[in-house]
Subunit: 246 residues, 2 copies
Amino acid sequence: MTHSRPLKSEISLSVIKTACSNCNLRELCLPFGLSIDELERLDDLVSSRRRIKRGDYLYRAGESFDAIYAIRSGFFKTDVLLEDGRDQVTGFQMAGELLGLDGISTEHHTCNAIALEDSEICAIPFSRLESLSREIHTLQHHFHKVMSREIVRDHGVMMLLGTMRAEERLAAFLLNLSQRFTSRGFSHAEFYLRMTREEIGSYLGLKLETVSRTFSRFQEEGHIAVQQKHIRILNVNGLKALMNQR
Amino acid sequence: MTHSRPLKSEISLSVIKTACSNCNLRELCLPFGLSIDELERLDDLVSSRRRIKRGDYLYRAGESFDAIYAIRSGFFKTDVLLEDGRDQVTGFQMAGELLGLDGISTEHHTCNAIALEDSEICAIPFSRLESLSREIHTLQHHFHKVMSREIVRDHGVMMLLGTMRAEERLAAFLLNLSQRFTSRGFSHAEFYLRMTREEIGSYLGLKLETVSRTFSRFQEEGHIAVQQKHIRILNVNGLKALMNQR
DNA sequence: AATCGCGGTTGACATGGATCAAGCCAACAC
DNA sequence: GTGTTGGCTTGATCCATGTCAACCGCGATT
């Protein structure tokens, strides 16, 4: 790829240029439900595409906010820091998901977004998104749904943190990842974790040792096979059953 | 008041009718930042006002969604239920705050909203809010801020649940209530809790006994005076200090 | 005034997960 | 190869919070 010269500039441009219209995530991402010509208007807006290397920040808490970001490929975590150094991972985001919605409220980001693998994002200038969504009803409505979905997701995490035991939290976590990989066309039963035990623990309100021990227990009980970051789910129903017991 | 007859119909109507333009919460609530004539257009939309008695549901999880609600007066909790009966209180809402944003995502409410005291709400039909906010930029932007603020709040709760100890959670909870009462013109140092120890516990991921014991400890240490639901904060800085230790 | 009942407090004890510590494994550098 | 490093696993012990149980106190009802 790096040595190929463009044969026809239109073609190469249309491939290289960010374009929702030919993005295979468009049914998961912001463009959901838009007509062809609406899509093209969104294309104009989603101009810049950026690579973020593993470990780099997409944005940091405190930075001023002016765009939201759609993940084109890769994997991110968001976290909030307390003055005393404690931190809480607030989410893991994958392709097709939006980052940065927290920044709208104060015009400043309130959390950090960090790439857990080399990633690519589309920046969507927020004020332009607002103007466009004043014109395109479908876009407006879908954007509201996405924000609302984030609120609902957060409620789920609260439930997890507030009422579930370590086993249940981890089972819920694995099932959630599995389901999200599935809807992106990957295996539901086999995947690589992009985050460390510590990051999982932070997300789930557990220490890394507990995460590790619980994985081991799941393995002993035949629910999963773990080998470092490689996970195979052997018994989905077993995991599901772990959640509603008690 | 109840015996007075209207002298001029316009006057009595303007008092009785729901109207953002003369609501003293307008600087906290959705109308924030609107001009006089924009306010009047919002008035048309916020037509119905409803009383909810203590203990009654404003809406239930699963019901179909078509409006969001602004709290005119009173106090609510929202909670989510798991099949096995466990529940998690996801928030406490007071005058000027919005309820129902979770329902946008699936067109169905995903939690229950229950009045903790006799309350009054304004129903805002959501599709009409969307059309109006396509016309009024300020309204659109403010609504986005409100949704985003909810996401940020949820992150705070995750931090609480994920990384803080019982003392810290409860201190944070009291300080948060105090601050919200203050911005509504009530005393920052003295207030009545509208919720039970069990509801506080559910919100904070603690059992009611722990909540009760921690209140008692705060009292022994001179941070607060508790008597059932009546709270007086004696030492704000003491409470703040409790949070960042460790 | 007596009774009832719900919510709150307090105590004694149990336990899930944290903490501390050692060792292991895999990737990478040299 | 050997060493180094970061992430993971496992064991022993500890402790914060949960659990169970008794009792209290206040408001509502009669």
